[in-house]
């Protein structure tokens, strides 16, 4: 715990001083499901493209739910996710600062919304 706190302190320094553009990529951001009702599974890669990589404590959250944390965020992270609906991926520091925030979309190969059981315009 104490060690984590030290890391947080060390990790804090560059936040305040860095003004460079963001160097994170998240891919893919669109999950392709078989049907509109099925859970969508994909492996997301979060990658840091600048050199040197960020050495900061951080957690990955999917729709606000914590998935994985690191004392030093690796330059490249792969994450298996199962999405029930579109949502948001965020990478946050322990103090709540968002390093990355990306929308995750779901596309379906086949629309399985319920078709009508009666023909339209059958009222008369």
């Amino acid at each position: 715990m104490q060690r984590f706190g030290v890391i947080v302190m060390l990790g804090w320094l560059p936040y305040t001083s860095a003004a460079a553009a963001l160097h994170w990529s998240v891919a893919p951001q669109i999950c392709v499901a078989d049907t509109t009702h099925s859970t969508c599974n994909m492996t997301i890669t979060i990658e840091h493209h600048s050199n040197p990589p960020a050495a900061i404590p951080a957690c990955v959250l999917i729709n606000g739910k914590q998935r994985q944390c690191w004392a030093r965020l690796p330059a490249r992270v792969t994450l298996d996710v199962a999405l029930e609906a579109a949502g948001r991926l965020t990478v946050s520091t322990p103090d709540g600062r968002e390093l990355i925030s990306k929308v995750l979309q779901i596309k379906a190969r086949r629309d399985t919304h319920r078709p009508r059981v009666r023909s339209p315009w059958r009222l008369f």
């Binding site: 460079a20 579109a86 059981v117």
Partner: protein, 273 residues
């Protein structure tokens, strides 16, 4: 320690959330045009259609589709098949209505085709006791594959109107017509003796001489339906349909029936909300 994060605030993606289409949805359409529903009952009026509506709501478990309300009780693993339990409003009684909304007819449609030659005594709808609308409860099995749909249903009167049964098998296919969505449906329904007796039987409840009393059996009614829609814009469109139901011999033999079938057709401009 090389700690150099290129942090300049969160990398906010401005793209909006793209949820799949909600599983629950209203479909509300209204059409203005003209059409008619013929009545095979002697003395009853053909019914004119001017403004018609199409109302449906489907949820993941329950649905409302015009005069039917029900729930899904089974889904196949591939989601192509489903079974529903439902309650619906049966409108056979409207064929006995002699209050014409309009006397305007469409000459080229066979609404006023010559009545079947009367081999039976001439009994008019006005001589009959009121035939009431009924509420049916039923179950249906539907399977869809590509552009085709097969369905089987069985219903029973739960309103104490006729205490009969109605079973229907149908096959619907989408026809490949450019710029139009055209579906053709072939159906055959079996109407039980109780159903036919209530509507087409003639007995002591009616103001008819006993020598004209009639007791039909159960019987089949084959039917064809073609419905075509064409979208003029996301909201506006054209709807056209034509349906014909052939009555069973046991119904057409009733002294109060003077046509062999029920024909309906309509053409109008539709708007979907």
């Amino acid at each position: 320690m090389a700690v150099a994060a290129c942090y300049a605030g969160a990398a906010e993606d401005s793209a909006s959330y793209s949820q799949p289409t909600p599983a629950t949805a209203w479909q509300l359409g209204i059409a203005a045009g003209h059409g008619q529903v013929s009545s095979p009952v002697r003395g009853a009026a053909n019914r004119s259609l001017w403004l018609i509506a199409d109302v449906a709501w489907y949820g993941s478990t329950f649905y409302l589709d015009n005069t039917e309300a029900g729930g899904f009780i089974w889904d196949s693993a591939d989601k192509r098949g489903s079974a529903q339990a439902y309650v619906t409003y049966n409108r056979e009684a409207q064929l006995f209505d002699n209050h014409a909304i309009s006397d305007i007819t469409v000459p080229f449609l066979p609404f006023n085709s010559a009545a079947r030659p009367a081999s039976t005594p001439d009994v008019q709808a006005q001589q009959l006791a009121s035939r009431h609308y009924a509420v049916h409860a039923g179950a249906r099995l539907v399977y869809e594959y590509a552009a085709s749909r097969v369905s089987f249903s069985i219903e029973r009167d739960i309103s104490g109107t006729h205490d009969g049964y109605l079973a229907t098998a149908g096959y619907q296919m989408q026809l490949p017509v450019p710029y139009w969505q055209v579906s053709a449906t072939a159906m055959v329904s079996w109407y039980s003796q109780h159903f036919n007796q209530y509507y087409y039987g003639i007995d002591t409840r009616d103001n008819v001489s006993p020598q004209y009393h009639y007791r039909p059996a159960g019987g089949f009614r084959p039917a064809l339906d073609i419905t075509a829609t064409h979208a003029l814009s996301p909201a506006w469109g054209v709807v056209v349909f034509a349906r014909y139901t052939a009555l069973s011999d046991t119904v057409t033999a009733s002294p109060v029936v003077d046509k062999n079938g029920i024909f309906s057709a309509y053409a109008g401009l539709s708007y979907h909300f």
